[in-house]
């Protein structure tokens, strides 16, 4: 039992010490750095109002509020829309909320130009400063289209302490319980061992 506790304690120290020594800036990427960075294609969340007569698929990358947006529009006949060249559109973020009794509101409207290439519309350097819903209004060949995009909040970087705690808590629980069982002489092995015909 003593050896087991020593072994678990050493493993605990090693696992907690590893991220602390390997990473100066606290984030969750310390293990992926060991494993090799995989190229991640993060797609933006999107929600399209069901009443609209089109479908849209949206994907892109979002990094610190600025990213690019790539989307396709399929009309109700299943035909993919195309454009001869670029299409102008307006992106609106309009939100209001209450916090601690105070009313806040943000209204942000910017004009962009979406280029059409290889079957998709593409907007470079689009501003996703705020988490929440964005309205995109564009006109293609005289028809108005509307997209609603939901941008999730950026996940805050986990501190090394928090990462370490997520590893240490299960170890800590087991060590404390085993220690308590030992101190109070609690037998946690099966109650009826060495009884009956099953014993050698």
């Amino acid at each position: 039992m003593r050896k087991l506790i020593i072994l678990i304690t050493m493993m605990l120290i090693a696992i907690v010490a590893l991220p602390a020594s390997a990473q100066e800036e606290p984030n969750t990427n310390w293990l992926s750095a060991l494993l090799g960075e995989a190229e991640i294609n993060e797609r933006l969340y999107y929600r399209v109002p069901l009443a609209r007569d089109y479908e849209a698929t949206v994907h892109g990358n979002r990094l610190q509020g600025i990213g690019h947006l790539e989307f396709n529009i399929v009309d109700s006949d299943g035909e993919a829309l195309s454009a001869d060249n670029s299409v102008d559109l307006t992106v609106t973020y309009d939100a209001s909320w209450e916090e601690n009794g105070e009313a806040y509101s943000i209204f942000q409207q910017e004009d962009y130009s979406a280029t059409y290439q290889d079957g998709s519309f593409y907007i470079a350097d689009i501003n996703w400063e705020y988490q929440g819903g964005y309205d995109l209004n564009l006109n293609i060949d005289g028809a108005d289209y509307y997209l609603y995009l939901y941008v999730p909040p950026a996940k805050p970087d986990a501190t090394t302490t928090f990462i370490g705690a997520n590893i240490a808590i299960p170890f800590g629980f087991l060590i404390v319980m085993l220690g308590a069982y030992r101190v109070f002489n609690v037998q946690f092995l099966p109650e009826n061992r060495r009884q009956g015909s099953q014993a050698k």
Partner: protein
């Protein structure tokens, strides 16, 4: 060797199952504590996915919590197994009842986790409902349910040996049952109980495509009834419930499931209320033992009491703007859930067909 392993993992029925040790409560608590950490870690990960989108590393902080807990559960079982072998038990009998299958599920969870790692590296991270349906995630969910069954089956063995247990001695089984329910609830997240984005009555209030969403909301009640009461009926049929057990099951379920949408207190409160209503029915009907009619009556009345309390809470507090359904609708769907419970209870208590008739 293969036969020894299948016996150890409890994947085939044997007459000699009584040779296995009955788990001690102290052992159950070691496993249950780690299982609770595992479950909270998994649910926090679901919350992270639904709030922030996919993680950029498969080894995020919440993954580390449940993978570490899972690894320690495996180490505990393997360590106990070999200590019990040293203490005189046969290899295939050395784990207490219930924990052999839990060990198999833990190994399966490890395999599914490795497949998940590879899948993410090759094809990226799942988005939206993909996360509920991708093959590696399905493997994780199903094996999670399996590894949670250990404490439930261990308590069942103790009940069969010692009779009715107190609420305190039933706690590991209650936590185990909740941990078994949660992966299936996560798989059914599109029709689930939480009060936030996934609230099933929320859909019935939406004006756009009202019929479609209202129909989906109704299906949600059927799915939740089959899930929650399918497990509960089996539990109640096999173990007499001490006072407070059923309320505690639903309270714990609601509180942990609420982590997904950040509504733990709210959902825990509503689920406690509904669980209390279910418990009242249990103690009024007394469905345990060989009382088949009482059990079927409980199957019918319990979901009705549960959903009436759920609707009652929304009606009294006007949460989210009220029920959003006509009286015909919400009373009708509540009656339907009673039929679902009655059908499940009846199927559980049917006499097996005569062997001769089957052979013909």
């Amino acid at each position: 060797m293969l036969m020894q392993l299948t016996d150890l993992f409890e994947v085939r029925s044997r007459k000699s199952v009584g040779n296995r040790p009955v788990s001690s409560l102290a052992f159950d608590w070691l496993y249950t504590g780690l299982l609770l950490l595992f479950t909270v870690g998994f649910m926090m990960d679901v919350w992270s996915h639904s709030t922030f989108g996919p993680d950029q590393s498969v080894l995020s902080e919440y993954h580390l919590l449940f993978y570490t807990s899972g690894a320690l559960m495996g180490a505990l079982l393997v360590g106990s197994h070999f200590r019990n072998v040293g203490a005189g038990y046969r290899f295939e009998d050395a784990l207490p009842q219930g924990y052999g299958f839990a060990l198999l599920a833990l190994l399966g969870f490890g395999v599914a986790g490795a497949a998940d790692l590879v899948g993410h590296a090759l094809w990226g991270f799942e988005v939206d409902n993909e996360a509920l349906l991708s093959p590696s995630h399905l493997g994780l969910f199903v094996t999670w349910g399996g590894l949670a069954s250990g404490t439930v089956m261990a308590t069942l063995a103790r009940v069969r040996r010692q009779g009715k247990q107190s609420l305190l001695r039933m706690l590991p089984a209650i936590i185990g049952l909740v941990a078994m329910l949660l992966p299936f609830s996560v798989m059914m997240l599109i029709s689930s109980l939480p009060m936030g984005d996934f609230m099933i009555v929320q859909e019935a209030r939406i004006e756009i495509n009202h019929w479609l969403l209202e129909s989906h909301a109704l299906v949600g009640f059927y799915v939740q009834t089959a899930l929650l009461f399918g497990f509960l009926l089996w539990f109640v049929r096999n173990m007499p419930m001490p006072i407070g057990a059923i309320t505690l099951i639903f309270a714990l379920y609601g509180f942990i499931f609420g982590l997904v949408s950040g509504d733990s207190v709210l959902l825990g409160t509503v689920a406690s209320l509904s669980g209390f209503a279910t418990e009242l029915v249990y103690h009024a009907v007394r469905p345990h033992g060989s009382r088949r009619i009482n059990f079927r009556l409980f199957g019918f009345l319990a979901p009705i009491a549960f959903w009436l309390a759920y609707f009652g809470y929304i009606m009294v507090t006007n949460f989210g703007g009220g029920i959003g359904m006509t009286e015909y609708m919400w009373l009708g769907v509540t009656f339907h859930t009673g039929l679902i419970g009655f059908a499940m209870a009846t199927f559980m208590t049917l006499q097996p067909a005569p062997v001769l008739a089957l052979e013909e």
